[in-house]
Subunit: 220 residues, 2 copies
DNA sequence: CATACTTCTGACCGTGGGGTCAGAAAAAAG
DNA sequence: CTTTTTTCTGACCCCACGGTCAGAAGTATG
């Protein structure tokens, strides 16, 4: 009976279907990156793909799925990069540096993804009755792994005493802001800015102040 | 001739007009704070004010002016607080601490303003032909005064060498993120989180690592 | 009470959004 | 060359939005 369609949509996809989905997602990312979520309508995405609006609704259940897929793809790529670049570091300190460099590097290499990620936090999606609705946007979890990393550093005695949750937010927000600033002035050297962040938070977190003398947490 | 209306709208305003404008702006801030810009429609704002939508368009030229006014009001209040709390500090170091405390304190005292400011950066307003259009949102200038402060600290020999523009973005972004995190979990202690930021950036920026020796006022 | 002005309402308009659908066009299968 | 299935289009629906407008309601001032 009708199981064919539902089966296919869950198991095997046509070449065309897969290609179109990929194309549409890519176009969606581009359009969002260029115009922001607010003006990223289905028609816009469709016309960038050189296709009718109905095509999107044919391959996706709705706008929500498009954005979900796009975000999922981006986060997957980002996660892969993290997994690759955060391995094999002798101490937490250098792992944190690698974390910052990985995030900054990813955005440098995928500038189209920046705005998508950034606005995803804010973007509501219009929950409840009508329209969109795709993602609660668990911004609380966004820096959770970073907080865990910081706690590991504290446990290892590499980092001083602080609220890991707060500092994860701070570091994450700092990186975001620097990247956002780079988007507005693309001529600036993002890599160099990343190094500034590395130095800054290294000095800020390391247990023994980066000098020769004794430790002792200063203020507070 | 028709100069009466235009004169009055520029010079003297009725008590009622002034009151309504204030009320509408307040309601707009509340609605934006509660639902975000996306869902902050004129009807929503109007019905919160217990009034018909037309009233807003009667007292304001359009939605744009409402939001402009709201943002102006918020920035004015924020600026006033800065002017008050950033005065009379012996060194740049403590001024920076005061800066962080002022920003955090303002948001703690005016939680409704947080989201309005935060989303204002992102929010497009839908420029060009149709609809809104109110504010280019000069995010580049947002941390300019902070950058100047940092540079002053460097000139005074209090701060180490770094890119003041980048670090202003970083500090600003860090504060923003911590505040945003507090909005999501209002039970956390924002003041304490602010102190964490003060300590963090003090350690990160001060030229001589903050040890016990020598003069140099520590925190605050 | 009448007049004139301010303030407000409710119906209305145009636009643009997401989503549906019948049927054209294109591919695959026979 | 048919038949069948996949893919696509264009017209259409409904709704929310911002904005306009004629006229009601209110409020002074004669």
């Amino acid at each position: 009976m009708g199981s064919e369609k539902s089966l296919r949509s869950q198991k095997e996809r046509t070449f065309i279907e897969e290609a179109r989905r990929a194309q549409i997602v890519t176009c969606a990312i581009e359009v969002i990156s260029e115009f922001g979520y607010r003006k990223a309508s289905l028609v816009r995405i469709a016309e960038r793909a050189g296709v009718s609006k109905g095509v999107i609704l044919y391959h996706f259940t709705g706008k929500g799925e498009v954005i979900e897929t796009a975000l999922g793809q981006i986060y997957a790529a980002l996660g892969a990069r993290f997994e690759q670049e955060l391995a094999d570091h002798p101490d937490v300190r250098s792992t944190l540096a690698a974390y910052i460099r990985a995030l900054v590097g990813y955005m440098r290499d995928n500038p189209t993804h920046v705005r998508v990620i950034a606005e995803a936090a804010t973007y509501d999606g219009g929950s409840a009755e009508a329209g969109d609705s795709f993602d609660p946007g668990d911004a609380g979890a966004r820096w959770r792994s970073l907080a865990d990393l910081l706690r590991a550093g504290q446990a290892a005695g590499e980092f001083r005493d602080f609220d890991a949750r707060v500092l994860a937010q701070a570091i994450g927000g700092a990186i975001d802001a620097v990247i956002a600033g780079w988007l507005e002035e693309p001529d600036t050297d993002l890599t160099e800015a990343g190094e500034q962040l590395v130095t800054t938070f290294d000095r800020a977190l390391v247990a023994v102040p980066p000098t020769t003398d004794s430790g002792s947490t200063p203020c507070q």
